[in-house]
């Protein structure tokens, strides 16, 4: 018997995940004992649990360490991405609470599922073998499928959940097939073993097509998760159909985790196949930027619009990965950070859109917002300017750094494509501003105070406006995170 002796100290690097999983289960039991839903209590406690997990991650030792027989890796990169994810989840729950009550879908399972999805994302980010990658991904996806369909009496929500589930299952199938191909070539599923084997094979020039095709399958599955074109088809329908609070979650968090996972995959096990995967990611990135820009133009539903916006933005984030340098990865990380915060603010506004107590979601419903809710209109204006990348707002710097990295690596065609797409996309962001300021409102939107939502929105605005004053802190942190992933280049 070679079974390792279990050592309790192995659990320490995974403490945030363990804590979050345990608190999810405790909250589940607690919620089941509550009468009439107990959403408020469970929601508050969930935010607290996420915050504690965030503090645990922050305070943890960020030196790279693998535990659980090499299944789980904790390092500076994973910790940074986890903090992003946890922050995004906290923001989402804070944004959603009022909406859940208003839409009469206040069930305590909602925050618990978000916690479990969070555990899944953290496991994805800490994955050090294809097995843990897969279980983390499934844990996350399954929670999200349920959340998308959580308004089971609503045909659109159920349809969204089902579509997401079936297509997600297809993507999972591709992922597993890809993993088995890679396993078939390498004979192991650990990232370290895969990286070593592929590096040796690349050095000799004897990489089997099987391994490359396996990698393509895996990339396709991840591309589905980040909704990169042409694996994005579920996004607009699911964004539109799912309850707005869930859409906010979809837009804000899982993409960050999936992009993090993608970076880990490409720069850890598959790093020696860089020339190959650069072609795939190049294509995904170009297609996403273009599609996200063009198809968004004709949308009338604001949630659908932001589905296309998220597709386009993922394209920009992929740009940094295509560059294949530490600077590129740092730029991508920074881009995702900024994108996440902007999106949180934007969905704060979208969730505010109600007329006579009914949620509305057409862009034209924003008409005249500058007169009825001037503060909201100005906040939205700032967000839209930032999204379209107008200086000196944060969004501009996000785009700036990724293109800098791209041009430094010599991908001029993609850079031009990206700039064109970003101009096209600016059209629909600016249209929202035009509608808010220059169109006449039919009837004003409701006035309501949701302190939590306002807080998230305010923080988001402060960030995008204030980023120009202290960009260095965040840039530096993202560079450090990237340096962990690409130690050779630093």
């Amino acid at each position: 018997m070679t079974a390792a002796v279990w050592n309790w100290s192995e659990i320490i690097p995974a403490l945030p995940e363990v804590f979050l999983a345990v608190s999810a289960m405790v909250l589940l039991v607690l919620g089941a004992c509550q009468k009439n839903g107990g959403l408020k209590l469970i929601g508050t406690l969930s935010v607290a649990a996420l915050a504690v997990a965030m503090v645990l991650t922050l305070k943890a030792d960020w030196t790279p360490v693998t535990v659980f027989s090499g299944q789980f890796l904790s390092d500076g990169f994973s910790s940074y991405m986890k903090i992003l994810v946890l922050g995004g989840l906290i923001a989402t729950i804070m944004l959603s609470m009022r909406y859940l009550v208003q839409e009469n879908m206040g069930r305590f399972e909602y925050p618990v599922l978000i916690l479990l999805a969070g555990v899944g994302m953290m496991i994805m980010l800490s994955a050090n073998s294809f097995l843990s990658l897969y279980v983390g991904l499934e844990l996350q996806s399954l929670s999200l499928y349920v959340l998308a369909a959580i308004r089971r009496d609503d045909a659109k929500s159920s349809e969204a959940g089902l579509k997401y589930f079936v297509l997600g299952a297809l993507a999972s199938g591709m992922l597993l097939f890809g993993i088995s191909l890679v396993y078939g070539y390498v004979g192991a599923v650990g990232f370290d073993a895969v990286a070593d084997t592929l590096a040796a094979a690349t050095a000799e020039g004897t990489v089997a097509p099987g391994a490359i095709i396996g990698m393509v399958f895996i990339l396709v599955a991840i591309a589905f998760k980040v909704s990169a074109v042409p694996f994005h088809m579920w996004t607009p329908d699911v964004y539109e159909g799912a309850p707005t609070s869930v859409t906010a979650l979809f837009a804000i968090v899982p993409k960050v985790a999936a992009i993090g996972l993608l970076m880990r995959l490409l720069f850890d096990p598959f790093v020696s196949l860089m020339p190959d995967w650069q072609q795939v990611v190049w294509f995904l990135s170009a297609a996403s930027m273009a599609w996200g820009g063009f198809a968004g133009i004709v949308q009338g539903n604001i949630k659908r619009l932001f589905a296309y916006s998220s597709i386009g933005n993922i394209g920009f984030a992929l740009v940094g990965i295509v560059a294949g340098t530490a600077d590129g990865v740092a730029a991508s990380i920074l881009y995702m950070t900024i994108y996440m915060i902007m999106t949180a603010g934007t969905f704060g506004i979208i969730m505010m859109m109600r007329r006579n107590g009914v949620a509305v979601e057409r862009i034209t419903d924003l008409a005249g917002l500058s007169k009825t809710h001037p503060a909201c209109a100005y906040a939205m204006t700032a967000l839209m300017f930032s999204m379209s990348g107008i200086p000196p707002l944060a969004g501009f710097f996000g785009k700036l750094v990724v293109f800098q990295a791209l041009i430094a690596s010599g991908f001029y065609v993609l850079a031009v494509l990206g700039l064109v797409s970003s101009v096209v996309a600016a059209y629909y962001y600016l249209r929202i501003i035009k509608v808010m300021f220059f169109d006449e409102a039919e009837a004003p939107l409701d006035r309501e105070s949701a302190p939590m939502r306002t807080l998230v929105l305010t923080l988001s605005i402060i960030f995008i406006a204030g980023f120009v004053l202290v960009p260095e802190t965040l840039m530096h942190t993202s560079q450090e995170a990237a340096a962990v992933l690409l130690p050779a280049n630093d």
């Binding site: 297509l167 097509p209 088809m233």
Partner: protein
């Protein structure tokens, strides 16, 4: 201490601006005034610790931008020059804040007004505490923005909006100059940090800059660019047209921004860059000439205007001219001295004028005033104090600083210094004249306002008078108190030497000690020291000019009614020229604005038909077409989506199969 002095206004602004509705106008006034008074007290404390104890320092806050070789930090440079500016800014700003509580008491948006004032003060502090050119530019633009917001504060008045836009656009020309200066500096020195630039400056005196094949002396180029920036901000001749129009803003704004602080930013800028200007004699020559001409031209215009605020505005411009020609002859400390005394007495004059306007139910035309000194005696006295200081009557603040400038100009020995001296004397004469013209027209003679207005004439409340009193104290004493600090030197003859021996404390009233290393004057250029050696008549001439001007004003406007009209008729062409402000606005309108409109229209038409048709409109049509096509894919059927995914997958797989196995 430094942080409080700089950031208290920012905190005040944020609270008043963001929570203005919640805390109400009272709360906003309280918060901003408290912040400002706190900042003023702290800057006085800094005056003690930095200047008197000779302890300049730099406070690093954070790294701002680091891209390649280009590094910019957030830092507070607290040296002597900065502290002088901080004291002036914070004290005047505190006075104006308190004054505004009374002046704006009927305005519905007074919370916002207070917030903007604090924002302006913060931006100004950022400007003077900057440790590098980029942060300086940040403050520079910040004050421009705040100034725009405040000039256009009464946005219901079209003239206010137009003035705000004009101020912004004209300043943009200057800002462009400053930007170019920053770029050039970075090219020449490879850094934008002040310390590094100043230490390197002596080694760069022979460097040239190739510009379209012309070899240009690098330092001169930088200095001229800087001067363009300063001309815009400080309303020197050429880019001055926005300043009189800016009087559309509320009077406290005129006092704070367009008299005491923002317009002096140009003077500060050049003083800050004295280590560069010292090696660019040609640039200094230009500065001196432009300054002297501004002093003279502005004074001539001031003679003829009837709007009480415009008269003071032109006088501000004229005084700024004095400061600039002082800079031009390397008398930096004299310029700073005048900047300080001017801040006090000009703010006093503006706020006094505001008090008059307040009393006269918002009447600004002096032709409809008169005979009100009995009703508002305190304001009357305070206006006298301000005017005495402005005219350079002995023992008031303006006397010391203006004389020092004139003597320095004379002593510099250069031809442009001489010219500036004579122009300055002429301007001094006119200054005294229009100051008393203002007082006499406003307060004396028969009341020319309507009976109804006269019935309402009332003294302003204490909340407005107390700040005035503080400023008046400054206007009386600032000159005599600080004369030594700005003028004396260890190398100057006579009494200074003796005083130095009395004790350590006294030696601080000496400009070399007072400024430390914050300004740099080459010994051979030091006209302030030379100013002590000028002949007696040079010292007396300004006083004489002032006295003549005052006397003449009394004759024309008090004793001989109707003489003013006679003079106007006698000098009709000159008066018309002066009254119409030397036709600058018309000239610019003809030269720049109209052609711009014509060109703009031409391009607009061409743009609409040709470029829009092929470009934006065509492209947007195309984009919508593409968007429509793409929409076709989004059918909503799940198996379609699955098909698209499969096609994507197969496409990628085929590509790699082809690549790895096909060949």
């Amino acid at each position: 201490m430094e942080l409080v002095a700089v950031f208290a206004p920012l905190v005040g602004f944020l609270i008043a601006f963001l929570f203005g509705k919640q805390i109400g106008p009272r709360g906003a006034q309280f918060v901003t005034c408290t912040g400002m008074i706190l900042a003023a007290v702290m800057s006085c404390a800094l005056f003690y610790s930095v200047i008197l104890q000779n302890d300049p320092r730099v406070l690093h806050l954070a790294t701002w931008i680091a891209a390649g070789d280009f590094e910019v930090q957030w830092a507070l440079r607290i040296d002597q020059l900065t502290v002088i500016m901080m004291c002036v800014i914070n004290i005047v700003s505190a006075c104006v804040h308190v004054y505004s509580v009374g002046y704006m008491s009927h305005d519905p948006a007074r919370a916002r007004f207070m917030a903007y004032l604090s924002l302006f003060t913060f931006a100004m502090l950022m400007l003077v505490t900057a440790n590098n050119m980029v942060q300086l530019f940040f403050g520079w633009e910040g004050v421009g923005l705040a100034s725009y917001l405040l000039i256009g504060f009464w946005s219901h008045k079209p003239s206010a909006n137009a003035a705000a836009v004009k101020a912004f656009v004209v300043n943009r020309v200057g800002d462009f100059g400053l930007l170019m200066a920053i770029f050039t500096t970075f090219v020449v020195f490879g850094t934008v940090q002040f310390d590094a630039i100043f230490t390197m400056a002596p080694d760069k005196t022979v460097d040239t800059f190739n510009f379209f094949g012309f070899e240009i002396h690098a330092l001169t180029l930088i200095c001229l660019m800087l001067f363009v920036g300063a001309v815009g901000k400080s309303a020197q001749l050429g880019l001055h047209t926005w300043l009189p129009d800016a009087m559309e803003g509320p009077t406290p704004v005129s006092a704070l921004i367009h008299a005491a602080t923002m317009v002096t930013a140009g003077v500060f800028l050049i003083t800050r860059f004295s280590p560069l200007f010292e090696y660019a004699p040609f640039a200094r020559e230009i500065v001196c000439i432009v300054g002297a001409m501004t002093a003279l031209v502005a004074a001539t215009i001031g003679l003829t205007q009837f709007d009480i605020k415009r008269v003071i505005a032109y006088s501000t411009m004229s005084q700024l001219g004095y400061m600039f020609f002082a800079l031009g002859v390397s008398a930096y400390s004299a310029a700073m001295f005048h900047l300080m005394t001017h801040a006090f007495f000009k703010a006093l004059l503006f706020l006094g004028a505001g008090s008059v306007i307040h009393a006269m139910s918002n009447e600004q035309d002096m032709r409809r005033m008169g005979g009100i000194w009995k009703y508002i005696p305190t304001t009357y006295v305070l206006m006298w104090v301000g005017s005495l200081a402005l005219a350079g009557v002995p023992f008031f603040a303006g006397f010391y600083s203006k004389d020092l400038i004139l003597e320095a100009a004379f002593a510099s020995g250069s031809w442009f210094g001489q010219m500036a001296f004579w122009m300055g004397i002429a301007a001094a004469l006119m200054t005294a004249f229009y100051s008393w013209r203002l007082i006499l027209l406003t307060f004396h003679g028969k009341p020319r306002a309507s009976a109804e207005t006269m019935a309402h004439v009332h003294e302003s409340p204490n909340v407005m008078l107390i700040p005035l009193a503080v400023l008046a104290a400054g206007a009386i004493m600032a000159g005599s108190m600080f004369y030594g600090a700005f003028a004396n030197s260890a190398t100057s003859p006579g009494h200074t030497q003796d005083i130095k021996h009395v004790g350590d404390m006294v030696s601080i009233w000496d400009k070399d000690y007072f400024f430390g290393d914050s300004i740099k004057v080459l010994p051979e250029n030091d006209s302030v020291v030379a100013a002590h050696h000028v002949p007696k008549w040079v010292k007396l001439l300004p006083i004489l000019a002032g006295a003549l001007g005052i006397g003449f004003a009394f004759v024309v406007y008090m004793f001989r009614e109707g003489m003013a009209d006679k003079i106007v008729r006698a000098f009709k062409p000159l008066h018309t020229l002066f009254y119409n402000k030397w036709y600058f606005d018309e000239l610019y309108n003809f030269l720049f604005v109209k052609p711009c409109f014509v060109i703009g229209k031409l391009f607009w038409k061409g743009d609409k038909n040709v470029i829009d048709g092929l470009g934006p409109d065509g492209v947007s049509k195309l984009s919508r077409g593409i968007a429509g096509r793409l929409g076709v894919f989004q059918t909503g059927y799940m198996f379609h989506y699955a098909f698209v995914m499969m096609i994507g997958l197969i496409g990628l797989v085929s590509w790699f199969i082809y690549r790895t196995m096909g060949s």
